[in-house]
């Protein structure tokens, strides 16, 4: 095969890839569009109870009016800040705990059964206690967002620290490196991929913690909007909150993926 033939083959291969990509995108757009159309029709033509399931244009109108009176901004930003704070706190604390456990083998042995218990416990069940301890405000909600991810982060990151290729440690030690240098030069960078993958899980977990926290505290935020809408039987409001949550949790997830690409080469 000569080089011009090869080039042609390559061009057609690239074209195939392009077409494939377009088809996938077309399907995705179609499904989205179909979903909203059917929902709208179902609501308007009363195939389903519009009081319960509402319909997109109604949610859209509510979105606009809430946007204009400023309340949506407030609720969304409160939830978003709480979630980001809980997410960062949970991840950082979990990683610090893991570092502590790595540092002292004995501590990790002693902590082991407690970590198992704490991990299997549904953290949201701690909600009322947290609220009593920290007061019914954003502190409790952030604490709930963090508590739900901190133990699993500790376990996953500790496991990653523990399973770092022992020969990397041997290299450091053979140069006379101490424990701190071992951690900074080998253990931590080798575990970056594991830490990043816990970030992805923690995004989802923090949303759970924060929304449940807002259910319980019932003061502000998207979780509050859901519980309020439920109580006054305004499901348009509930659905609006869900749409906002879907949008912002996806954005957070994309941001974590972006950080992942920045931090990890290949």
């Amino acid at each position: 095969m000569n080089s011009s033939q090869l080039k042609k083959q390559h061009a057609s291969y690239l074209l195939d890839l392009q077409i494939e990509k377009r088809i996938v995108l077309a399907w995705q757009v179609f499904i989205l569009f179909a979903f909203f159309t059917i929902w709208e029709l179902a609501g308007r033509l009363s195939w389903v109870d519009p009081l319960l399931f509402s319909y997109p244009s109604k949610v859209g109108n509510l979105f606009l009016s809430k946007l204009v009176d400023g309340s949506l901004m407030i609720h969304t930003s409160v939830t978003l800040l709480e979630t980001i704070a809980g997410f960062i706190l949970g991840t950082v604390l979990g990683t610090l705990f893991a570092a502590g456990l790595w540092w002292s083998r004995k501590a990790s042995r002693i902590a082991d059964p407690y970590l198992v218990v704490l991990n299997s416990m549904p953290k949201v069940a701690l909600g009322p206690i947290i609220i009593v301890a920290l007061g019914p405000g954003y502190l409790s909600i952030i604490a709930m967002g963090a508590s739900i991810s901190v133990i699993i982060t500790t376990l996953v990151v500790y496991h990653a620290f523990h399973t770092v290729e022992p020969n990397f440690v041997k290299v450091i030690r053979s140069f006379g490196g101490n424990k701190k240098q071992t951690f900074v030069e080998a253990i931590l960078p080798a575990s970056f991929p594991a830490i990043i993958s816990t970030l992805k899980v923690n995004v989802g977990l923090s949303w759970v913690g924060v929304i449940v926290g807002e259910f319980l505290v019932s003061e502000k935020g998207l979780g509050y909007m859901i519980i309020y809408g439920f109580q006054v039987f305004n499901f348009t409001l509930v659905l609006l909150s869900l749409v906002m949550i879907a949008i912002f949790s996806s954005i957070m997830y994309l941001m974590v993926e972006w950080i992942e690409r920045k931090l990890i080469r290949n």
Partner: protein, 254 residues
């Protein structure tokens, strides 16, 4: 006073199930500038001996003295090159080479330049900004050598540095390593499975037997083979004879 004196060392590994004696009553001496090979069957304790000399572990009994000083912990007079390169994939080639200097707080301009000079000598200056996964096995092994040499150890411990390489690369690297160490007047202890490599590179070959690791025999390589390159040794007329002798001994201890 000899350069390195390994004095009747025994080392046992303890696990829950058993206490296993890996090497037993091992004694040998290396003079400054010598190149010694340790040859023996898998599991006879070759890597254990190196990690004891590197100070990564303490022998259960016996002592190891370097220039008359007991080795109790890793020190920068000994450079240890592990069985595989173990370059840090998140560091560039240059950063990998500077690791030892960084860990021992010796990142001076002078030391950095000398290390970059080594890299250049090894034909690696084009890839110093690359990452290890972009390099071939032979290149990675050369980087590992530079990393080990960067802290200017007097004694080099080489644990099967060429075993993962293809034959041609291996022959080339043998020459490169031999000449690099000779010009720098380094003392070296090479662990290998390869009889030919042991003959080609060393002044003496120490044959170990298994269960537990013990010195079975020591072969002196004749002077005329020591002074030529490993590749020339492999092609010399009496290479086959030495190979045969060691092969038969090894067979007897397998």
């Amino acid at each position: 006073m000899s350069f390195l004196h390994v004095d009747s060392i025994t080392h046992a590994y303890f696990t829950k199930e058993s206490a296993k004696v890996a090497i037993s009553e091992l004694t040998f001496v290396i003079e400054e500038g010598e190149f010694i090979s340790l040859l023996g069957p898998s599991g006879c304790g070759k890597s254990t001996i190196l990690s004891l000399i590197a100070g990564l572990q303490q022998p259960t009994t016996g002592t190891i003295k370097l220039k008359n000083k007991k080795i109790t912990s890793p020190n920068n007079q000994v450079g240890y090159m592990l069985q595989q390169d173990y370059l840090f994939p998140w560091k560039t080639i240059e950063e990998n080479c500077m690791l030892g200097l960084k860990l021992t707080n010796q990142l001076t301009v002078e030391n950095k330049e000398r290390t970059l000079g080594f890299l250049d000598e090894m034909g690696l200056s084009d890839v110093k900004k690359a990452y290890p996964n972009q390099l071939s096995g032979g290149m990675r092994q050369r980087v590992a050598l530079v990393r080990t040499l960067a802290t200017q150890p007097d004694l080099l411990l080489l644990d099967e540095p060429f075993s993962a390489l293809d034959y041609q690369t291996k022959l080339k690297l043998e020459n490169l390593v031999a000449s690099t160490l000779k010009t720098r007047k380094k003392t070296a202890l090479l662990v290998t499975h390869d009889i030919g490599e042991a003959i080609a590179m060393s002044d003496r070959v120490v044959l170990l037997s298994k269960h537990p690791g013990k010195i079975a025999r020591v072969f002196e390589i004749p002077k005329h083979l020591r002074d030529i390159t490993p590749f020339e040794v492999r092609n010399s007329p009496d290479f086959g004879m030495h190979f045969q002798t060691i092969w038969e001994e090894l067979e007897a201890y397998e």
